[in-house]
């Protein structure tokens, strides 16, 4: 059957609806191609240009493949693959001749819109996907609606109805589908996806950039009371290597266990669950000092937590930490590494270190206090926008600009300590976090990003020292928003005085958190917990599959019963049923019965079309009218009617 041209613009719009979440990910060249193909197909539908011929179309396909190779270097993988499918969907419009071609395009749309979940599984995307699925389904309704009897709103209503009917099946699949640890399809890694978060190195200014972001880094559910703000040091990475400008991780991590010692043998550990937003890196954040963590997590000797793959979805992990513990692991190699300084740089700083160290009589603890006192007394300024530093960065900072952010203070502090022969290192992570005002979790934002230091003490192991606290104690006691003057640089959620705005933002955050916890975070463990709650323990994958099959069958049966019950045909009497059959036969023969058409009106049309069957048609129509609208209930007539409908051949 030929397609209806009136369908083409809605289909074109549908492809764009599908593509909207993809736009930000597309390279400029592909965006141009999309715009060009859109314009071309629009002109085509308005008969301004010719349909591309048999030579042109394969050429276009080749050009698309070429473009993809140019942009991505491959046509496979989630990004290149979904982009190719998008462009092919556009090209399919050019060769659309039949309704089945349009159906193909719509089905491609279903796949493409679902492919967005490869990139993000946020609630916003889910809502958008559902909206687009409703729209695409409404396109299928237009295709089947041969009489063009429905309006857009009505179609959307119907397709929403269908989507709502599909919800039970969705829920069954969601709850029962066996979860496999790790991604089911090994998705190729994408470097292009931009996520905010700490990187694995620190140079002046690298943390400041995060401070302006109100984005959530992670959410924490504490089992009991959360520790005070000044104790919330979310350790991320330990940076030991310094090249005079940038701090980096120790590039040869030794997977040796850290050596944790409990000095007083009291259990003062706290338990909490972290829901970490994807940051496209491999490390996790936890409070000092890690006692226990679930899942397969590697713990380095520096107490850094690593996962196997980059974190591209929200992950949730339960942790126990005990701040009383002491990390006393120091290997010889580590000892020397944490004393290294770039040679021949920052002579003034080194001189200052030696002078101060001599001043306190070469006592390590006294020297640390002396350095902190130095920062305090010399009126160092804690600021979000420090001046840029020159080549001799430390000298410039300590003797010239004297203004800096946490990164400046911690790197200067470590520098001064190493110059005096005390092993020290920079730690980056987050400091602080605020309790949700009406939910029971803590939000740690990118703006809580922080850098501090750990200094080796021969008796107590690695001791955390935060030089920023010496300069600006309010930073660790009550958070960044109370510690700096440039409040306008901070994310609005922290500094807004508009109670309504804040409330709305926090409500949204609650929603996100629940979404992450119950939808995105519904993993193998949660699934197991759910079944244990229902009284099934040790549910195996085959049990899940069995349950899924049974539940789907039941849902299918209920749906079938519902549809049959709702279908007016099943309530109609036999007479109507056979008349419908009669109309169906005529429809197949090319004459369609209009729903508003009476039987004798229809008879007039069909008997002129099939003159040789005139009598049969008239007999059927007459019997139908008499049986359905008349007063007599003649069994003979009913039998004759049914027989003649059955025997009718056109």
């Amino acid at each position: 059957m030929r397609f209806k041209p009136r369908l083409m613009l809605p289909v074109l719009a549908g492809i764009h609806f599908v593509a909207i979440p993809m736009y930000p990910r597309l390279p400029l060249a592909v965006l141009f191609a999309v715009a060009f193909l859109t314009l071309w197909s629009w002109l085509l539908f308005h008969n301004r240009v010719q349909r591309p011929g048999k030579v042109m179309l394969p050429l276009l396909v080749l050009m698309v493949v070429g473009l993809l190779f140019h942009s991505y270097g491959t046509i496979f993988g989630r990004q290149a693959g979904s982009t190719m499918l998008l462009l092919l969907a556009f090209l399919k419009l050019f060769e659309t001749k039949r309704e089945s071609d349009i159906i193909t395009v719509v089905f491609m749309g279903y796949f493409l819109i679902a492919s967005n979940f490869f990139f993000s599984q946020s609630a916003l995307i889910a809502i958008y996907v559902i909206a687009v699925v409703i729209y695409l389904t409404s396109l299928l309704i237009i295709i089947s609606d041969k009489k063009n009897s429905t309006r857009l709103l009505e179609r959307l209503q119907r397709s929403s109805h269908m989507v709502v009917l599909a919800i039970p099946i969705m829920l069954i699949l969601f709850v029962l589908f066996p979860r496999i640890s790790g991604p089911l399809w090994g998705l190729p890694k994408d470097d292009s996806s931009a996520t905010t978060g700490l990187s694995d190195e620190m140079s002046p200014g690298s943390i400041n950039r995060l401070i302006t972001s109100g984005e959530v880094a992670f959410r924490v559910y504490f089992d009991g009371e959360p520790p005070p703000h000044s104790e919330l040091y979310w350790r991320g990475l330990v940076l030991s290597n310094y090249d005079g400008k940038t701090w980096r991780r120790d590039d040869a991590p030794v997977y040796a266990k850290p050596m944790l010692v409990d000095p007083d043998e009291n259990d003062s550990s706290i338990g909490y669950t972290v829901m970490l937003e994807p940051h496209n890196q491999r490390w996790l954040y936890a409070l000092e000092h890690l006692v226990d963590i679930d899942g397969t997590v590697n713990v380095s000797r520096e107490m850094q937590l690593y996962t196997k793959n980059n974190i591209t979805d929200v992950v949730s992990y339960a942790v126990r930490s005990d701040a009383q513990l002491e990390n006393q692991g120091l290997f010889e190699q580590e000892y020397s590494k944490n004393l290294l300084l770039p040679s021949g740089m920052n002579p003034q700083t080194v001189g200052l270190a030696q002078a101060l160290y001599a001043e306190v009589g070469q006592d390590d603890d006294a020297y640390i206090n002396r350095v902190l006192k130095y920062f305090r007394e010399r009126d160092f300024i804690y600021t979000l926008s420090p001046q840029l530093l020159g080549d001799q960065a430390m000298d410039d900072f300590i003797f010239n600009t004297q203004q800096g952010f946490c990164g400046h203070f911690s790197s200067a502090f470590v520098y001064l300590l190493r110059a005096a022969g005390i092993p020290a290192r920079v730690v980056i992570g987050y400091q602080g976090g605020s309790m949700h005002p009406f939910d029971d979790y803590m939000i740690v934002r990118q703006s809580d990003a922080h850098a501090w230091t750990e200094v080796w003490n021969d008796y107590r192991g690695w001791v955390r020292i935060d030089p920023t606290a010496a300069v600006e104690p309010r930073r660790v006691e009550s958070g960044i928003e109370n510690a700096v003057d440039q409040r306008e640089l901070l994310p609005s959620i922290l500094v807004s005085d508009n109670a309504l705005f804040r409330r709305a933002r926090f409500m949204l955050d609650s929603f996100h958190s629940n979404w992450n916890q119950w939808v995105v975070g519904f993993n193998k463990k949660k699934q197991k917990e759910l079944f244990e709650l229902l009284g099934f323990s040790n549910v195996s994958i085959s049990d899940l599959v069995l349950m899924m099959v049974v539940a789907m069958t039941l849902a299918g049966a209920v749906a079938a019963w519902w549809v049959v019950r709702k279908d007016p045909r099943s309530r109609k009497d036999t007479v109507k049923h056979y008349y419908d059959k009669f109309c169906f036969k005529l429809n197949k023969a090319g004459v369609e019965h209009q729903s508003c058409e009476g039987a004798s009106e229809f008879l007039q049309r069909i008997s002129s079309r099939f003159p040789h069957k005139k009598n049969e048609l008239a007999l059927i129509t007459g019997d139908y009218e008499r049986l359905r609208y008349g007063d007599d209930h003649n069994e003979q007539r009913l039998k004759r009617f049914i027989r003649s409908v059955r025997q009718l051949k056109l």
Binding site: S595, E597, G598, A599, S600, E625, R628, Y629, G630, D631
Partner: protein, 316 residues
């Protein structure tokens, strides 16, 4: 309701057929309107004919009355016509020492209310109330009108100074509204060649009389309407009430009129049950004057309300 005797019904159909063709000999080329007017009469409704002067409104009414063998009264409505001129008046009789009622022209079987829109609303409503109730109350005394009782009112649609077009609420009391329109060429030629219509009317033999007509009316009213048919009627009513095209939907009275008219038409066609087609056929005459279109949307589609309904409501 007892099942009517099929023999009499066939006789009724034959009589009505003869009546229609008799009238058709006088009013040329208007068979469809005659059929509908007859339907209206059989369905015990009243008829409003809206058309230009001189297209044969009065002649039609006259011919009907003659063929039906009914007592005919014509009331020419004018702006100074009073209700008493229509209904009648009680006059004091000195000899008898009391009032005596002098019935007005409304006390007959068949009334032609000519140019009803020229009378004042007061007089109009006196007529319309009498039509509806089949009785007249004068000086506190209620008097029944003769049976059968049939009113054909005519209205000139062109705006004229000093007229009072019937409001929609009053239009509802007419079962049907018809337009006659100009005759086609052949009919016009025949009309020009033929005899004077008024003379012809006088020579037409009555086909029915009041008693026969009432029997036929009863038969029509008892014609079988199946559930499937009532479903359709209700679907039409529901549609007019839901559709944004109309200011307000059909009244229950409109629904009853539709069903009665369909029954009468089925009887005229010789059917012993009502089909949705019968409803559709009477639809223009029954609903077009009852529904007020909400906007120009119908007009721009070049559809009347009835056509729109017939195209939109599926037959269940």
């Amino acid at each position: 309701m007892s099942a009517p005797d099929p023999k009499i019904r066939n006789a009724a159909t034959a009589l009505l057929d003869r009546a229609a063709s008799s009238i058709g000999q006088i009013i040329l080329g208007k068979d469809e309107q005659i059929r509908l007017a007859l339907t209206c009469l059989v369905a015990r409704g009243h008829l409003l004919i809206e058309d230009l002067p001189g297209v044969g409104k009065t002649t039609l009414a006259h011919a009907f009355a003659q063929v039906m063998g009914l007592e005919f009264q014509r009331i020419q409505f004018t702006s100074d016509l009073l209700p008493a001129d229509v209904l009648g008046v009680a006059v004091f009789q000195r000899e008898q020492g009391g009032f005596e009622f002098h019935p007005g022209p409304i006390f007959s079987n068949f009334i032609l209310a000519d140019e009803v829109n020229r009378a004042t609303p007061k007089t109009q409503s006196a007529l319309l109330e009498a039509m509806e109730e089949h009785q007249v109350t004068v000086e506190g005394e209620t008097r029944d009108l003769p049976q059968p009782f049939f009113v054909i009112a005519t209205q000139n649609p062109i705006h004229q100074v000093g007229t009072y077009p019937l409001p929609e609420s009053q239009l509802d009391r007419f079962m049907m509204r018809l337009h006659l329109g100009f005759p086609d060429k052949a009919a016009e030629r025949e009309l020009l060649q033929g005899d004077d219509r008024r003379e012809m009317i006088e020579h037409v033999e009555p086909v029915l009389d009041a008693g026969k007509l009432m029997t036929i009316q009863k038969q029509a009213a008892s014609l079988h309407a199946a559930d499937a048919l009532l479903d359709y009627v209700q679907a039409v009513l529901e549609f007019t009430r839901q559709s944004p095209m109309f200011e307000s939907g059909l009244s229950p009275r409109g629904g009853l009129a539709m069903l009665s008219a369909a029954r009468a038409l089925a009887l005229i066609e010789g059917k012993d049950f009502v089909l949705p087609e019968h409803v559709k056929e009477v639809l223009p005459a029954v609903v077009n004057h009852r529904l007020v279109a909400n906007s120009d949307e119908l007009g721009s589609k070049n559809l009347t309300a009835a056509e729109y309904i017939a195209e939109s409501v599926p037959i269940p």
